[in-house]
Amino acid sequence: MARPKLIKERVPTPERPVEERVKSFVEVNLGYDFASAVKEAERCIQCPPEYAPCIKGCPVHINIPGFLKALRENADNPDEAVKNALRVIWNDNTLPAVTGRVCPQEDQCEAPCVMGKVGDPINIGKLERFVADYAREKGIDEELLCEFKESCTGTGGSVAVVGAGPAGLTCALELAKMGYKVTIFEALHEAGGVLMYGIPEFRLPKDILKTELEKLEKLGVEVKTNYIVGKTVTIEELLQEYDAVFIGTGAGTPKLLNIPGILLDRIYSANEFLTRVNLMKAYKFPEYDTPIAIGKKTIVIGAGNTAMDAARSALRLGSEVTIAYRRGREDMTARIEEIHHAEEEGVKFEFFLTPVEFIGDENGKIKAVKFEKMRPLEERDKRGKRKIVGTGEYVTLEADTVIIAIGLEPNRILVEASGFKANPDGTLIVDENLMTSIPGVFAGGDAIRGEATVILAMGDGKKAAKAIDAYIKQKKANA
């Protein structure tokens, strides 16, 4: 066999031009078509699945070379190619349209890709997304769903899942695939968690998300919205009715800055701002009833993905936007692609600034933010970021809107109501099987990790589903 010819450069995906996209919330990246997807898939050197580094890099261990192979094997029959590829993906991940869009692939599957050593890594995320999108448009996912459903044999067990975010959705879908009767309890009026209220349309269109969520119903999962577990129903009550419970309540409580002026008008937590924009569609006010008050000059504090999402959303609402971060450019935690998009769209960046005071006008509206200038040290913290110290120098930047995106912590309603063992930061303590201090109650995602990523939450959901299956089988065997 001839040595494979390496194609070093990835096949690009088209994007909407900047001038066009900053005026609306439509998706920025347009994705591959079949021909370019096959071309990109052909760059893969097909490492054997036992040691393919990309599979190890994926938190849910999708057989990546396997689905790429399926794509190129039927290059003359797109429908067949996509169906086979999707079948491979679904074995490990039931939300590929979501993960293909929002995963930080550069830190996960694409980071260890062998092709990345000689050129660009394979564009795995975009290929995963292509398969999901093409299948949805052609109804191929429907056929496959029937196939999966047939293989689900009822186990007679039932599981309650608390929270319809990435962790809960994955856990529910995996359990449904195993034949369990699953009910999801969700506090908001729509399922999806951060995928619905946090990530904007221009990164994850809500119509696509909703179609993905319809799989739940088709696999027989019931979703009860408007249920606040801890208030509407307790964990104890759920344990009486279900064989096991999975907690995927996330980390949804915003950290706010404990500095003067935090209650001034037009200072939003990123969660409030993004919930109004994404879940409530305040950008369509007054067609939609929820208002949002955004000025001409917005400062976003923080530099994670949430900060980028907030900044780019504020920009689309017609504001000039500056991101102020207390560390440097290389310390930013947001995805590189999203930082790049934000820069292209005209978001300005100010580094080494820590807010010390919000200054209001006579009407109680924010008018400026006072920052202390920071300086980096050589020393690094636990997460490998450079430590910073104040310089004693200050600078004041004008702003009529401020969005705080400095992080989130778990919501305490459930922990307080149910007596879970938790860490001081509110994250639930779990064992190696993701079981909490209450027997039969498992947890995963941000509820145990603090603020992390969608795909790690999904990985936990999948792991917990396996542990729950084992737990219920054991329980029934002992009964």
Partner: protein, 291 residues
């Protein structure tokens, strides 16, 4: 989807909804609230169950027609129809203790939130006097309160149609503070509790403070999710930032930063008016089109 079992206008701009919502009816306690989203493109608004039956699975909401969402509910929701979303119960229940002699005040439709709490306090052995101050055509729950508590006082203020609504509201505030002063001067009280517009709560608090009587207030900041995930409802209480939806809604009136709260409640006034005007325009258009 939650079925509307009854809908009726019980006073000027006050609509009574009896709704099938067993998940809330089973768990709700006095002092707790729900978040309602009535329409597909609608907003989420906090409302308070006034009465409920855990067995039959219904709750009663009494809603004051104040802006677009409440106006649209009054105009478009029908008995036998449905409300899209009701999440709850939310917030902390009111403290249920034997405080002694309690003055529970409701300004305008605030009295509907006072009702379940006052009733429960009375049943617990407290001596409860409720005071309802409102405009003459807006009296609600008079008979129910007379039955539920030791003494129900009603103070009505006429509406002067030649003057603006804010002008008329000043008269309510005046009557409210006068009456509270009179009651505090004449009698001894162990606790004052109040629900009403933040400005009126502050005005009453200023009077109560002179007498040194403990006071609690149910706060009404802007809310979005009602579950502690956004901080829209943040208030400063005792110098600390609290989220009213999970730490409240009831707080010690002596610790609340009233001026800040008053400022925060006016954040969206312009947009609220715009939403209402737009709605009125569409309604007029529809009415003309229908002829």
């Amino acid at each position: 989807m939650y079925k509307i079992l009854e809908k009726k206008e019980i006073a000027m701009r006050n609509t009574w909804y009896k709704i099938h919502a067993p998940h809330v009816a089973k768990k709700v306690k006095p002092g707790q609230f729900v978040i309602v989203r009535a329409f597909k493109n609608g907003e989420r608004i906090p409302l308070t169950p006034v009465m409920w039956d855990p067995e039959e699975g219904w709750i009663v909401l009494i809603v004051f027609t104040r802006g677009k969402t409440t106006a649209r509910m009054a105009a478009e929701l029908k008995e036998g129809g449905e409300i899209l979303n009701i999440a709850g119960p939310l917030g902390n229940p009111a403290e249920m203790e034997k405080f002694g002699k309690i003055l529970a005040i409701g300004a305008y439709t605030g009295i509907v939130e006072v009702y379940p709490i006052a009733k429960a306090w009375q049943e617990l052995g407290n001596k409860v006097t409720t005071l309802h101050v409102t405009f003459e055509p807006m009296v609600v729950l008079k008979d129910e309160l007379e039955r539920a508590v030791g003494r129900h006082l009603l103070e009505t203020v006429p509406i002067d149609m030649t003057k603006s609504f804010p002008e008329n509201m000043k008269n309510v505030t005046k009557r409210l503070t006068e009456k509270v002063r009179e009651l505090l001067e004449k009698e001894e009280w162990d606790l004052v509790f109040m629900v009403g517009p933040t400005g009126d709560q502050k005005a009453v608090f200023e009077v109560v403070k002179e007498f040194g009587v403990p006071m609690k207030a149910d706060l009404h900041p802007i809310m979005v999710d009602g579950t502690g995930m956004c901080g829209a409802c943040r208030v400063t209480v005792g110098g600390e930032v609290k989220f009213a939806c999970i730490d409240g809604p009831e707080f010690d009136a002596y610790k609340v930063h009233w001026d800040e709260l008053i400022a925060r409640s006016g954040y969206y006034t312009d947009m609220e008016q715009r939403a209402m005007q737009e709605y009125m325009r569409l309604m007029q258009q529809a009415a003309q089109g229908g002829e």
